[in-house]
Symmetry: D2
Subunit: 300 residues, 4 copies
């Protein structure tokens, strides 16, 4: 892999740049709930596609809202409704009885705090169902929702997957929805893009480790994942600079490519790139995502 | 029960005031690691004692450090060593292989944040044991420690006990150590008293609910609990005012007692009392407790 | 003074209980923007009134919203509009050019964090006026607003008044709006009552100290204050318990009163009473107050 | 300027690379309080030096502690003592009567929170001097210290300089010590380097704006600044990648340099690079710096 991205859309784009056909992958682009919102679905429908893309089979829906951070009410509402609609679509239009939302990531690192911040703003209802019975949901039109932010291994000493497995076994939700901060290739996608997928996620992969996947196979429940790219790997940035050079001077393309082959980004290992106003962006996008999920929770 | 307290010591004291003998309960008072530190052990050794005290059988060790909040280095170190020694004593001098520390309570309520704050300061090592094997512990003399702050039901929609059960089943610690903020009867004990017990604890009981106990019976692991009183129930304060009146005017003792029989504290239901500088006190006592536990973790 | 309250309304009520006439004080009760919201104006219009009330001359508007913490959208919006309207009324319907909002209190103590929390949610614009000129305000219909949370003396070593004076002299706002958590007499008023006044406020008085007032006299700018009671003094609670006893047993009224004369509440000195769910309440009421002020800032 | 750095040492190094002599700048390297700690003093002693370096005249002391983040007690203590000693050296060995410490930066952005975090851990005493008189300092051997974290303009609407000027005028400290997070050129210096200078600092410059300096000229008090690099500008990283290419392929040096002349880093404008574990590093280095300053405050 030439660069690091958690967005299926960016993986797909890299093939386009190289004019390569991929079998097993279908692409669909639509306009969202508002002009300016773009919804792209990458459907990896067979093993060939999964191999080529380096990602498990399933649907990857990307919502791009370039204007999101302008903080206009209209754009925010449209984004929330888009999230609601796309979650429902990934569930084939059928609601489950109970959902456990997992806010992955480290609350103490601004760029990694998306999951915990979303969980803080969620409408949690499972204890009310327990207290008032199923009629609670019918009366208010709410779903049965529990939520947690398990923290990261350096804080707990436990694999996030161990904690989730244990809690799922005990509380038996019908569906798990995992929220996480992602890495993108392009800086312009940071905090303005939402990826939804029905393939699950790898907790902790976001920081470069190879961890056990959180998916239906590993926990026995369908797992949706919602992610927002908040960082770009520093090595990717360096590589992109080199590529711009190669493009501007086609006569050195070969040399630049040779150079790019070598692992010359070691000097920025374990470094990532964030926008300077990340604190505001992350708060705003977390609240928008939470309100989108809350719409889903409240809708009948 | 005439007043609310989570301290076995204060329950015991209430009998003394009334000059009542209690069978099944042994009391031992000692000086701690430093003059001015008092260690009292209440041992409830049979069912009669448990009935009389309204608490499960087991040992309740209370460390009182009236000078703790003066923030003197010497006093703090002595307190930390006392915590280390008393944990070891409750374990009959034998260390277990692995411990899961649970920081109960709500991080967003200053007076209830003790558990989460202690967990933040702990030396967590379980993931290092997993990575480097048992020799990690031998080399550094550390125990295998994991830790978590599960939050409260209003945040997660789950009973704390459900989360703990699931995680214990998955990660299989040999011992659970639960940390929680407690309620005391006397304001002078707030943030200057530490109770250690081998009987477990009821998560959420601290806020007046009747919850399932976290103990060996419920989770299949020995459970130690360490608590610090940080609040007094507002009703208890009102009652204490009345009692002072009754003492100062013995001629009205009967009337005051009649009045006290009636539930006249309803107007402060769900209210608690904290010191005005609770933010500083809770931070200081949390760090002291965490460092005491860290001493225990590091000691061979 | 028999009990501690920062609410002019509660001081006024204490006279009613005793059937005492007060000259120099006018009282007006109205229904607010929604049924269930009560707006009471206590107008202390001469020195006699100020003496009797123990408060400086001026208008004290109390908005009572008993249903606020039910978190209904409709009630919240009505409360925000009420805040907007009453601020404007205190300014005699005339907007100033620029406002400095001061969030008093200690962000680390849940019950004292109202001021800092409100400031965090405010629409701050002064730097945009500086960058884009006066036309910025005309275009967007915003007022020129700056804001700060100065912290408390134990954190800064400085009197809050020193900091405010210095900043006012340097940034020259036309009006200061101070936000602070208050103490009430009655627990049912906690987090459901908003007091607005044109008399200024004493920073730090909330914790029992005698400090210099923040008012037009001391800083040369009109000072509005908006406060929400979040605590009851523990001594007040004890006293109220005694009073209930005295009422229930009129035959002991004299003895109880004698007892109340003596300072028998020393055992809860520097203690305060808060509701158990103070973290949720304070967040909700802070956001409501901030949105009310934001409405004022945005309205032409 | 070819890259962005706030470290005088890195500016100086860039001349070495190019084998250029600089008049007006003296360099001194020493071993610190412990093997492995390096202390370098860059003394810009005339206008030529200031021009060449692009920095005001004065002393810039850089403490490099490559092992700091290993969190060894010995190394931390040595670092704290080094900070104490170098502050005293910048003051020519003479203590002032009173100090105002300013924690610059945005507490909500992990990498920018150094200043506010240091201020939180400081020993603040000015209010005790006010209460107990000068004998307080003599008795305890403390200096008169006040401290504040003014926040950033987007939060307050005010220039940080306006706030500081106002507060200095009102509270009249003899010396101002400003703490801020800096940008470095080299990632290996992040969170392991401390720069101390007697030339003051530009609040807000850290985020790329041209602001008024905080120095003796602007506020009428000597200003020391202590900074720790916590980020590298993303453009600098890209440029460094290019330079590595140019070095590895000297035949393309000219083309690469041509390319570097053009502003080709626009695609990462307003982006910065931080280590993935920035939350732990920033906390550890903030506490170390605070304890170093506290040693200075306590020493006679």
């Amino acid at each position: 892999m030439e660069f690091r991205t958690d967005l299926a859309l960016e993986v797909r784009e890299s093939f386009e740049e190289d004019n390569i056909e991929i079998s097993g992958v279908a692409l669909k682009e639509e306009t969202g709930k508002m002009k300016g919102i773009k919804v792209t679905t990458v459907d990896i429908f067979n093993e060939d596609g999964a191999q080529a893309m380096g990602k498990p089979r399933g649907k990857y829906i990307t919502i791009e809202i370039p204007e999101l951070l302008n903080e206009e009410e209209k754009c925010r509402t449209a984004t929330e409704k888009e999230i609601e609609a796309q979650i429902l679509k990934l569930m084939n239009g059928k609601k489950t009885k109970s959902i456990l939302v997992i806010g992955l990531g480290n609350r103490d690192i601004t760029a990694d705090a998306l999951g915990p911040l979303v969980v803080e703003e969620l409408l949690v209802t499972r204890h009310l169902f327990k207290e008032f019975g199923e009629k609670f949901g019918e009366k208010h039109g709410y779903q049965n929702v529990s939520a947690m932010a398990p923290g990261v291994m350096a804080q707990t000493g436990m694999e996030t997957m161990e904690m989730i497995k244990g809690i799922v076994r005990e509380t038996k939700p019908d569906l798990v929805l995992a929220i996480d901060a992602l890495a993108a290739k392009s800086v312009h996608r940071l905090n303005t893009t939402i990826q939804l997928t029905d393939t699950g996620i790898c907790p902790g992969a976001g920081i470069g480790n190879n961890r056990q996947a959180l998916n239906e196979e590993s926990i026995g429940r369908p797992v949706l994942a919602l992610g927002v790219p908040t960082v770009v790997d520093a090595g990717t940035i360096v590589r992109e600079g080199m590529e711009q050079f190669a493009k501007s001077r086609p006569d050195f393309k070969r040399e630049a490519e040779e150079f790019l082959q070598r692992d010359f980004t070691g000097f920025v290992k374990n470094m990532f790139v964030t926008p300077k106003n990340i604190d505001c962006s992350i708060r705003y996008v977390s609240e928008t995502v939470a309100d989108g999920i809350n719409r889903f929770i409240k809708s009948k």
